[in-house]
């Protein structure tokens, strides 16, 4: 039987307004509780009004996940008392969700999607002086209250924590491509993970942010459950909380007390009907999905599946960056080669995404032009791209600065010295071993502590080579 894992993924949707009021969904830079109104604070007498855009975003997700979309749907009240809930019930979907029975493939892994529904985000709680279980007091910020969420529920089809991470990365990439999710607006994806071993009781780890943390939480949970089992102790059905600082999970509440949310249909929100016309419109406006984009990269830019895949699946904005560069550079294969093999490597080394790095399409295109114009050889280019990623100073300027750091006179002196000490390499070069020149350039570069331009060195070397 082994490990069985199912995920509930909550994605904040990129709408203009909150789910049931006209407050902004985007509350970056606002003071706590500034982005609120009587509706999202649940004031007596206020009534929710559904955002059509949120439903459309939900439909887009459902289509991307190959789901069946319900033609009529309802909203329900899920009642439980918690300070992050402005009404002590959450408006969500219960009996009839937006969509059911989808599928997302990640390589050979096929994950069935049980349902996709729309619901409201609760407020944010700040536990002062501790975490949720032991803080001195708690601050409440309702800026987030009512932000639209899509909840994507999988079947328990994962058999390892590693698979969940691959799935989540693919899912996030897809959500970003559809435009329903914009991490640039600090939108978050939060995950509840259900895990059981050998058909035992199911444990839910709630509210994990970050896909790496999902993997860590599940790894911890599997070890914990296995060791309970080994000591012949009962694995209780419960809800646990993931502590990111220790990478462990802590018990929040035993499940038997909380299964009953007393759902009723929300009588303030009439049934939503999705007719053929509306569905057709959403299908028509469906943006290009990652798999389609990979195929297009292969045909349009002549890339290999490998390069196209790395560019698209890294993240949407990396793929956008690549296409932006291709618009001003006529060699998509060269752009891909440098973007994947060197730019991406440097970014990864710094744990940066293209969108939060200092790299711009303009700078990268300039960098590629320096190589094409022979001002930069490959070897030095690999050094320069690192420096560009580190500093954000334009490649042209970096090269110019490098040149200025050493005078031609000094460079000639160094070359003369290198030539004098390496008679053997000169002979090799004369006898036709061209790589000896590269060897000599390397030595000069080393002598100048890389403060020189290899093209210039090459030029001077051939000129000064004893005949």
């Amino acid at each position: 039987m082994g490990v069985m894992i199912g995920l509930e993924v909550h994605c904040q949707l990129n709408t203009d307004s909150k789910l049931f009021c006209s407050d902004s969904q985007d509350h970056r830079g606002k003071r706590p509780n500034e982005n609120t109104c009587p509706i999202c604070l649940g004031f007596p007498g206020s009534k929710p009004k559904i955002s059509k855009k949120a439903i459309e975003h939900g439909m887009t997700i459902a289509l991307a996940l190959n789901c069946n979309i319900s033609r009529t749907m309802f909203f329900s009240r899920k009642t439980y008392f918690y300070p992050d809930m402005s009404k002590n019930y959450q408006i969500t979907q219960y009996e009839v969700p937006l969509a059911t029975e989808g599928l997302l493939s990640v390589g050979d892994l096929k994950i069935r999607i049980r349902r996709v529904h729309i619901e409201e985000d609760p407020a944010r709680l700040v536990h002062v002086g501790g975490d949720i279980t032991n803080s001195e007091y708690t601050l409440m910020d309702y800026n987030r209250s009512g932000v639209p969420l899509a909840e994507i529920v999988t079947e328990p089809d994962f058999t390892s924590p590693k698979q969940t991470r691959a799935f989540l990365e693919k899912l996030m990439n897809m959500l970003e491509h559809t435009g329903v999710y914009d991490p640039g607006k600090e939108a978050t994806i939060r995950v509840d993970a259900n895990v059981s071993i050998d058909g035992g009781e199911r444990v839910e780890v709630k509210n994990i942010t970050g896909f790496e943390n999902v993997e860590k939480a599940l790894n911890y949970e599997i070890i914990r459950q296995n060791s309970l089992k080994r000591s012949q102790m009962k694995i209780a059905r419960e809800t646990r909380h993931f502590d990111a600082t220790t990478s462990t999970t802590k018990s929040l509440r035993k499940k038997e007390y909380e299964d009953d949310y007393g759902y009723i249909f929300d009588p303030d929100l009439p049934m939503v009907r999705i007719d053929d016309e509306w569905l057709a419109k959403i299908k028509r406006l469906m943006p290009e999905l990652p798999d389609q984009r990979v195929a297009r990269f292969v045909s349009q830019y002549g890339l290999t599946e490998y390069y196209a895949g790395v560019i698209v699946y890294t993240d949407k904005r990396f793929a956008d960056f690549y296409e932006e560069c291709c618009r001003s550079n006529g060699h998509p294969d060269i752009v891909a080669k440098w973007a994947v093999n060197y730019l991406l490597k440097s970014l990864n080394w710094r744990s940066e995404k293209i969108s939060d790095s200092k790299v711009t399409p303009k700078g990268f295109v300039e960098f590629l032009a320096l190589i094409e114009n022979g001002k930069l050889n490959e070897r030095f280019a690999k050094e320069l791209i690192k420096e560009y990623v580190d500093t954000g100073v334009s490649p042209g300027e970096l090269l110019y600065k490098t040149k200025l750091n050493i005078s031609e006179e000094d460079l000639r002196d160094i070359i003369a010295k290198v030539l004098k000490e390496n008679g053997r390499a000169i002979e090799d070069y004369r006898s036709g071993r061209k790589e000896s020149l590269q060897f000599l350039i390397g030595l000069v570069l080393k002598e100048t502590k890389k403060q020189s331009n290899p093209n210039e060195i090459s030029k001077l070397l051939t000129e000064m080579m004893p005949r």
Partner: protein
Amino acid sequence: MKEHLERVKAQDFDNGEFIEKVMQSASNISNEYSAFITMAKDKPNGILPISVKDNICTKGIRTTAGSKILDTYVPPFDATAVSKAKASGGFVIGKTAMDEFGFGTFSTNCAYGAPKNPHNKERVCGGSSGGAACVAYAADFPHIAIAQSTGGSITAPAAFTGTVGLTPTYGLVSRWGLIDYANSMDRIGVIGKCSYDAALGLSIISGYDPLDSTSMNRGATDYVKSIGNDVKGMKIGVPKEYFDGVDKDITENVWKSIKLLESMGATYEEFSLKLTKYATPAYYIIALSEASTNLAKFCGIRYGIEKQISGNYDEYFSAIRELGFGTEAKRRIILGTYARMSGYRDAYYIRALKIRGKIISEFKAAFKRYDSIATPSMPILPPKFSEINSLTPAQTYSMDRLTTAPNLCGFPTISVPAGTINGLPSGIQLIADHLNENKLVALASACE
């Protein structure tokens, strides 16, 4: 009222003096009958005095819904019905007494004192819009009471005070700003001295409102035009189940009204509404299921009463709710929570929803034959306060049996006085198909 509006139109009228007189008189009614929870403090401005049931939000005027838990609550916005009334020259004189959150048939479950019947102060006004009906009857000035019904809360007090109570089709008047009892049934309506006042009030407060998703998207209607319309040829259905266990004198009065309509050219026919006995249980199950979720938000965090206590949030919520809610509110929260819990939900909540659908169909079929259905408004005359104490909750709930079905189904109703019995008023309830308020106004004015 008509004369008042004509004087205003002819500018034969000192507004300052008028308002002062109205406020003085309202204050006397408040002292005499405990009809108000809060009086308007600032000097109001307008030509048409309105009272507002205390579960309808008024900007800047405390709104408690008759509950201690909202003792300190001053809404930051007006209900749409109130802002519409203001736009038509209305000014708020005060907030009328009611059963806590609308939970009652007699206006005796009141955190701020029960209103007394202006016909006899030992007797109740009916509920839950008791204060509204009391002011409508007692006012010696032109006035419209904005009231509200969930299961009969306009009809009951209108009948007990001898006033006209109009409960419009669900969705005709916006619920924005109404503190919810059971959202799928809550309706804002009006109580007035006569059908003219009720028709005028409804014309003012009805109309589409984008803030309420259940509001009907249709243009304004002038219901006053239907006053005095010919009832000749109208067909009235009289359901026999609605006379079971009704006070004999009341039955007699209701029949007198029906015969009066007959004498004006209407016809009637007795018939049967077989699902009648299921309406009240279905009503209470749905209403209390919804109410128990609506009341969850009152927990002393964001508004209303608060208290310094030690303990965790669960203990805090319990302490505030223990303190703030009255006995009937607690009873209804418990009943409503039970009816929607897993294991009971299908047997109660879901089943009640299905029954509601069947009752709607039964009424819809009847409205193919009849323009209106006539029933007594209440099965009893206004009881004494001392008599209420001996009633069990189930006996009290059964007093709603004539009003729950039209409320469950969103049909418009009007309650009109049907003559007095030993000085106590009785009422006839006329029910019509959705959006047929015009027929009700015509019939009601013919009864007067």
